[in-house]
Subunit: 296 residues, 2 copies
């Protein structure tokens, strides 16, 4: 009987778990070693509770960079006091396994005090593109996001950082911050990953009951419908917004923070379509706030 | 007749002028080349109108780092509308000559639009240590300083940056910002350089008339006197402040923004001396606002 030989490209054993570090010192040592070995550094900043959206970023980094760092840190400063910081899902073991399957090299999962030691009081005042939409609904959110992301950029000193298009405004804020502060790194924004029925993947989807999960699909359905109308020639964004609101109303999604068609760079509202635009939604399904967007 | 030979350590020709670059692209290329040649990078951020204080920073960088970059940029965002941005001295030719004598390798003298292109709107919200003293007298000043300094740090990607102790609070703000935002560089604060009579060197000293120049020396004299009283056992900072105010009044310096004895780290006022402290002064001599400080 012949011995089975394993091709090195299809090992039967599970992929190696990424190295987990929790301190800045360990992080910097690991990145320095990778850099010294000639690797470019990719960073995937996350708050954990990873889903396929995050993993697509980890894979994109793996494809482009020699060494991929994923950070897992539920950043308190981007949550308002009434928001879901305390109940935000923490699933470190599962996250490490998932990142192993993407061949992520290093996971940086710091404690709060390592990121914000006593006396830490400098912040980033985010760019103008942060003001509307999420900025209005979640005061202070982008200040917290921009600050922690800049800190992570400085801690990891990556060459490239990967963000999801699902958080469209967040990606715009970070891209503009990088430009404005001359941060020496490149930003990649990867497509939104969706469930088979269209729901944008989100760590918060796990808050949804079965019924709410069925309701929630109306969000992406409404965006797709509006995009189709635009493709069919509808130039008036008010009509597109009405269509979206109609679909949401049918699904009994009645707590809508905003539905808007905006310029893809400035995020200012567009009245009549004349070039690429983005449709943005934020709406509540039960107690869960969901966002989504669609390029039109 | 023998030919004269020049020792390479004592050339008769003047030192080579530093390379002058004005664009981000040229700056980054020059720094990258120096880095590739194995040099560590030192940064001396200035607003030009260089005096011996600045040059001491350039020399400190030259002594510690393989490649020294001095930036010359009169940063508009750190001046209030009524302040002296327009009349701030611009002396580029003399500055280049002075830096040549310090063997500075590169001067980065960007235009305003290269530093703040249209749409640039992200800023640094400076740390708590920025709130009092200069922060109260010059609202927005440290926001402008912190933002431009972070931009310069990111542009140059230096290993070490050099600041003068004369701007004591500024150095504290920058040191804390670097800590809070995890900026990967070290800060050196070099001693204040003084005129023979004690006046702290400042680009703004050139605004002083001959009479004002004589008055201004009272600032450093008052600080030295207070430090002597403290060394002789006076623990009550109110008594030290009174002494300083007395000396300033004698010199007819009557527009005083603040005189304070503060904790060297937090810059909070100290009532009774129990450890190292710093005495801070800001006062106007004629139309010129001068600051100084003294460790006690």
């Amino acid at each position: 009987m012949l011995e089975t030989t394993h091709s090195p490209t299809t090992p039967l054993s599970p992929p190696l778990a990424p190295k987990l570090v929790t301190t800045v010192r360990e992080l910097r040592a690991a990145v320095r070693a990778a850099r010294a070995a000639g690797c470019s550094i990719g960073l995937v900043p996350t708050m954990g509770a990873l889903h396929e959206g995050h993993l697509s970023l980890a894979r994109a980094s793996r494809a482009e960079c020699g060494f991929t760092v994923a950070s897992i840190f539920v950043n308190p400063t981007q949550f308002a006091p009434h928001e879901d910081f305390d109940k935000y899902p923490r699933t470190l073991e599962a996250d490490l396994q998932a990142l192993a399957s993407c061949h992520t090299d290093l996971v940086f999962a710091p404690q709060r005090d390592d990121v914000y030691p006593a006396g830490c009081s400098t912040a980033v005042e985010p760019p103008r593109v942060a003001q509307r939409w999420e900025g209005e609904c979640r005061p202070g959110h982008f200040r917290g996001v921009a600050t922690v992301v800049l800190k992570l950029f400085n801690l990891v000193q990556a060459d490239v950082a990967f963000f999801g298009q699902k958080d469209y405004q967040q990606a715009s804020v970070i891209r503009q911050m990088v430009r404005d502060l001359n941060v020496p790194l490149e930003i990649r924004v990867c497509p939104t990953v969706r469930e088979p029925d269209g729901l944008a993947m989100s760590s918060r989807n796990r808050y949804l009951s079965v019924d709410q999960r069925s309701q929630a699909v109306a969000i992406s359905r409404s965006l797709r419908l509006a995009a189709q109308l635009a493709a069919d020639g509808q130039r008036q964004t008010a009509a597109l917004v009405d269509t979206v609101r109609g679909v949401l109303a049918e699904a009994q999604i009645d707590r809508i923070d905003y539905v808007a068609v905006v310029d893809p760079d400035t995020l200012e509202p567009v009245v009549a379509l004349s070039g690429p635009s983005v449709m943005l939604i934020a709406a509540h399904v039960g107690g869960t706030r969901l966002i989504d967007n669609w390029k039109i």
